[in-house]
Amino acid sequence: MATTVTHLKAQLGAAAPASRATQDAPWVRWSLIGVALVFLGFFLVLPLAAVFTEALRKGIALYFQSFTDADTLAAVRLTFLTAAIAVPANVVFGVAAAWCITKFNFKGKSLLITLIDLPFAVSPVISGLIYVLVFGLQGWLGPYLDAGTHPWLGDWLNQQDIKVIFAVPGIVLATIFVTFPFVARELIPLMQAQGTDEEYAAITLGASGWQTFRRVTLPNIKWGLFYGVILCNARAMGEFGAVSVVSGHIRGETNTMPLQVEILYNEYNFVAAFAVSSLLAMLAMVTLVLKSLIEWRYAQSRATHD
């Protein structure tokens, strides 16, 4: 949450008037503001407006009718299911990683931090591909998942009807991969800044490890954690490239909302495609609002504590 601290400074800084030497001439100021707003208008505001305009192009009735489609509803359900698994998994990981990285000293710590960021550097398409390589029919574990090679395991998996690639587990795994760093990278700098004094104090006062975490650490990091969760969730629900590779695009079964958008769009069903998109765009806006609120709240609490 490093950015939130600086946001606070910006707010405080805005209150203090700039001296004559650091002020730009009004024409410079207004032209730069103009350039910035035109640029952001073309690249951010117009796309957002386009989503809703296109969705409502044929009227409100058709807009709502788009959501009655069984395949679309299945896509919505799958998207929520995926996020409901991927987000908690990465929260548990993020907290564990932040705990060992910030509260203890060990060799290879900076390498570990770099490795946690690794999925951000990997193209979504490749994120999907590597799971196909591991679990696909031609992959390492593929033969085990296919009945025949190892009859006992294959039979068992077949009976349980477990498939990874072109099925829900693959979608969940690929989503976990692409959202992997979100929670950890919010918590690590935050907990690093907070140090270990309070935890030591709790331990010397007789608290157990779990009590220390729950009553001392967690309240301190709850906003950072929430921040990580909403970013993680937005990406989990919106991921397209990675999920596209592992999904197999089976209608009503392995399509998430972004994939459903693609299918509807490619079928020239633009109203439905943009209607589903409008839900995702609203999710994005809610995410941005929550994010700003947390930054604001965090800035407030910093201001009163300082």
Partner: protein, 351 residues
């Protein structure tokens, strides 16, 4: 080059930083702007430098006879040294000092060799001869301060302005550097104004001290004047320790050498410095205010006593170590206090 500021008012929103301030800095003098934080001293310095503009309709700034109120900072001919130095981190010490010359218009700019020559002279002047190639991050705090000074001097300023020049340094370096600044000033003889909240610093090196409080100037004078003859209760309390004696008291010195009660019966408070009090062992029939000893600190060149008069009026007294030995005092001993010098102020009179 003298500096004259007349009727300077500066407000930030609803906050008044300067309220109609008049200041004259004589040519070639080293002047300290002294005051607590929020007194307006830094704002005054910044207005003189042109980094801040005084409220419209308020007064003028003049350098010698020239009105510079509307001259932008870079053209005023001021050298400004910032509290945290504000050195350019991506430039070497050499480039930092040369900056003011390098940004001159081509036809005014000295040649490369002339610039190098000037920078080396300045480096020598601030005793950093061989550090030109270093970056600011590779210098100590005291060295950075001197680089900042050299950078300000490179443009041949008419006046030198320093904002809390020693504020960010540790105590030992601070003492060395302020003596060095005094010598340095005597060498270059440039009109210099510096801001400080440290009275010891101001009294030690300034030719003239300007004491500020709550957006106004309280008093201007030599260090001796402001210390010995404070014009206001604020100056009295801000410069050194002072006892506010709740009158009536006995034991005031009269002109003829006798002692008696404070003569002006309408005064409520008398300001007395700890060393202006005298301590006697208690004896019946001798004039003085009765008090008892609460603490004795004898670790130092003078002995500091805390006496208590009545139930709750604490009085600090400084006497020599020799006098302490003569008196042979112990805690709770009754003593008589006598006042050698005191001062009262109109605002403390009962109406």
């Amino acid at each position: 080059m003298s500096i004259t500021a007349t009727q300077i008012t500066k407000t930030f929103g609803t906050y008044t930083a300067l309220a109609g301030v008049d200041l004259h800095v004589p040519s070639g003098k080293l002047v300290a702007l002294l005051g607590p934080s929020g007194s307006g001293k830094t704002t005054l310095l910044r207005v003189i430098a042109g980094l801040e503009t005084a409220d419209s309709g308020s007064g003028r700034i003049q350098f010698h006879a020239e009105d510079v109120t509307d001259v932008p900072t870079g053209k005023r001919g001021v050298g400004f040294v910032f509290q945290h130095y504000a050195l350019f981190r991506h430039m070497t010490v050499f480039d930092n000092i040369a900056f003011g010359l390098n940004v001159l218009k081509r036809k005014e700019r000295p040649s490369k060799d002339q610039i190098a020559d000037r920078v080396h002279k300045l480096l020598k002047l601030v005793q950093l001869d061989n550090l030109g190639k270093r970056y600011p991050t590779q210098l100590s705090g005291g060295q950075r301060q001197r680089v900042a000074l050299a950078r300000a001097l490179a443009v041949d300023p008419k006046v030198l302005l320093l904002d809390e020049p020693f504020g960010a340094l540790d105590a030992k370096v601070r003492k060395e550097l302020r003596r060095w600044l005094r010598q340095f000033h005597d060498e270059i003889n440039l009109t210099t104004v510096f801001v400080t909240h440290d009275q010891e610093e101001a009294l030690e090196i300034a030719d003239e001290v300007v004491v500020m409080n709550q957006a106004k100037i309280e008093q201007v004078g030599t260090p001796q004047e402001v210390y010995d003859h404070p014009a206001t209760p604020f100056v009295y309390q801000f410069l050194g320790n002072v006892n506010k004696l709740q009158l009536p008291w006995r034991g005031f010195s009269n002109a003829d050498g006798s002692h008696g009660p404070f003569t002006d019966s309408s005064a409520k408070v008398a300001y007395v410095r700890p060393h202006e009090l005298e301590v006697l062992r208690y004896r019946v029939g001798v004039d003085g205010e009765v008090a008892s000893i609460r603490t004795i600190h004898a670790a130092g060149s003078v002995a500091r006593l805390t006496c208590v008069r009545g139930s709750s009026e604490f009085v600090d007294v400084e006497i020599s170590r020799q006098r302490l030995d003569e008196l042979a005092l112990a805690i709770d001993d009754p003593v008589l206090l006598r006042v050698r010098r005191s001062r009262t102020f109109a605002e403390d009179y009962a109406i």
